[in-house]
Each structure stands twice: as C-alpha cells, then as structure tokens.
Symmetry: C2
Subunit: 149 residues, 2 copies
C-alpha cells in the first residue's frame, strides 16, 4: 500500500474526497502486518474517532481494495483479512486463534506443470501454511499442567 500522503493524491485524482475518516484508516493500515479484520480496523479507528461508523470503514477498505492498494484474504477464519502488503508473499495461519503472519519466501518451483492446468489461465499463486501459533501452543501446555494438578 502507498503512504497516506500518496493515497491522498490518489483519492483526489479519482474524484474521491479525502476525509479525516479515510486518512485515519490510511494511517492505521500503513505498514500494518497484522492482517486485521474490518472490525479490528473499526475498533482501532474508534480509538481516534469515536463516532466513525463501521459502514465508513468498510467503504474505505473496499475503495482501497478496488484500487489494488489492499488485498482481501479469505483464509477460512470467518471474516475477511485486509493486507496492505500487495507484494507477492505467503502466510502462516493459526487454526486456533486465526492469527495471520507473513512469510516472505519465494517458491520458484510452485507452478502448475504443463498439461495439468485443465484449461485454467493462472493469475495468482498462494501458499498457506496452517498450524498452531506460539501463543496457542503455550495455552495448550498451561492447560495440560492444570490437568495434572
């Protein structure tokens, strides 16, 4: 995603107004690697602007996604995750708590072999590693200790 200043330009060029609500969301997302849900962005925005509406948050997130400044990930965690990092990368997903972490590794061998594409024109390749995050593993161990006691 571009910087808040660049996004301000971009929105104006497109005839979209640059409101404080939108600028707030620009700032919250810039460099954000937490892959927040819309609700999470909403919560963070309300800390600065108590009257911002969830509708406005969705509106701005969708605008950014349409411009290609944001990717929406559907990783089976119930709700969409917004990713301001639009460069090619992959993800680690916690099956327990839904946490999403970036994995910046290139897998040059991951291609559909000739003759196996079944007519598809491939536009994108995602690798998703699913498992249990550190925090959820610690929880599990704590539970075991309690069970012993």
């Amino acid at each position: 995603m571009k910087t808040p200043v660049e996004l301000t330009e971009l929105f104006r060029e497109r005839g979209l107004k640059v409101t404080p609500q939108r600028q707030c969301i620009f700032r919250l997302l810039h460099g954000n690697a937490a892959h927040p849900t819309a609700e999470a962005v909403y919560a963070a925005a309300r800390a600065e602007m108590p009257t911002i509406s969830l509708k406005t948050v969705y509106q701005t997130l969708n605008d950014l996604a349409e411009m290609g400044e944001l990717h929406v990930l559907d990783l089976g965690t119930g709700s969409g995750r917004f990713d301001p990092n639009v460069d090619a990368h992959h993800h680690l997903v916690c099956d327990r708590c839904g946490k999403v972490r970036d994995l910046h590794v290139d897998f040059p061998d991951v291609r559909v072999p000739r003759g196996k594409a079944q007519g598809f024109r491939i536009l994108d390749t995602e690798v998703v590693f699913r498992g249990i995050c550190d925090e959820c593993q610690t929880e599990d161990e704590t539970d075991k200790e309690k069970a012993h006691a």
Copy 2:
C-alpha cells in the same frame, strides 16, 4: 473418503444410525471431484429423495468432516466446499465462477525455512492457484465478439 459400504460400518461403530438420507449422501460424495457446496449436495440429493432437508445434509457433511472422511475448503467463494479426497493435493480455483479443480502435484520444496516459522507448529500446507477457467475464458471471448459486432 471411504466407500459407502465402509462408511456404513464406521457410522454404526460410532453409534450413528445409517439412514437412507445418509447413504444417499455417501453415494453422492464418493469419488466426487467437483468440490460441491452444501447446497449442491442438497440439490443432488433431492433429485433422489425429494423430501430430504438441508439440515440433514449439513448434519451428515459435518459428521463426515468430524470423522476426517471429508475436508471442508474455504476458498473465498462464499460457501464451504466439501472435498471427499483427503489425500494431500492442491487446487485450481476460478476467480470468476468459483469452480475448483484438483491438482495432484507434490511440491517438496514448499516448506517454511528454519527460523521463519515465527513460533508456528505447521500442520498443513495448501497451495491455491487462482485464475480463470476454460469456460469463463470462452465467455470472455464471446463477449468480445459481441462487442465488435
């Protein structure tokens, strides 16, 4: 997924009754590579049993998933896709129509490099190739021709 006959055994062992509705779903799923939604299974089942309820379909699909006989894929196509093929494989997904095809290729290089796992214990690796399927490409071309005319 096991064969309908084996699933009949398995259900009985678990104290679950083997009803005609469940057997119908066993048959519909066995060897099914279409990755159907619950609604699609429901539609196919109703062709044989007009009074089967959507509730019963979900119930049976969830039972099979809990037993590990079925995988539920969330590929961002709006609804869950049920996959009776529980062996390791990957998927081609059409961004336009949601079609899902199997890709039986092993990618041995696709592993999280040591030191990049960020505390995750990895349990599963999925590769998803997104693009446009053959049918949707043909549609596009037809549209172009119409535009020229």
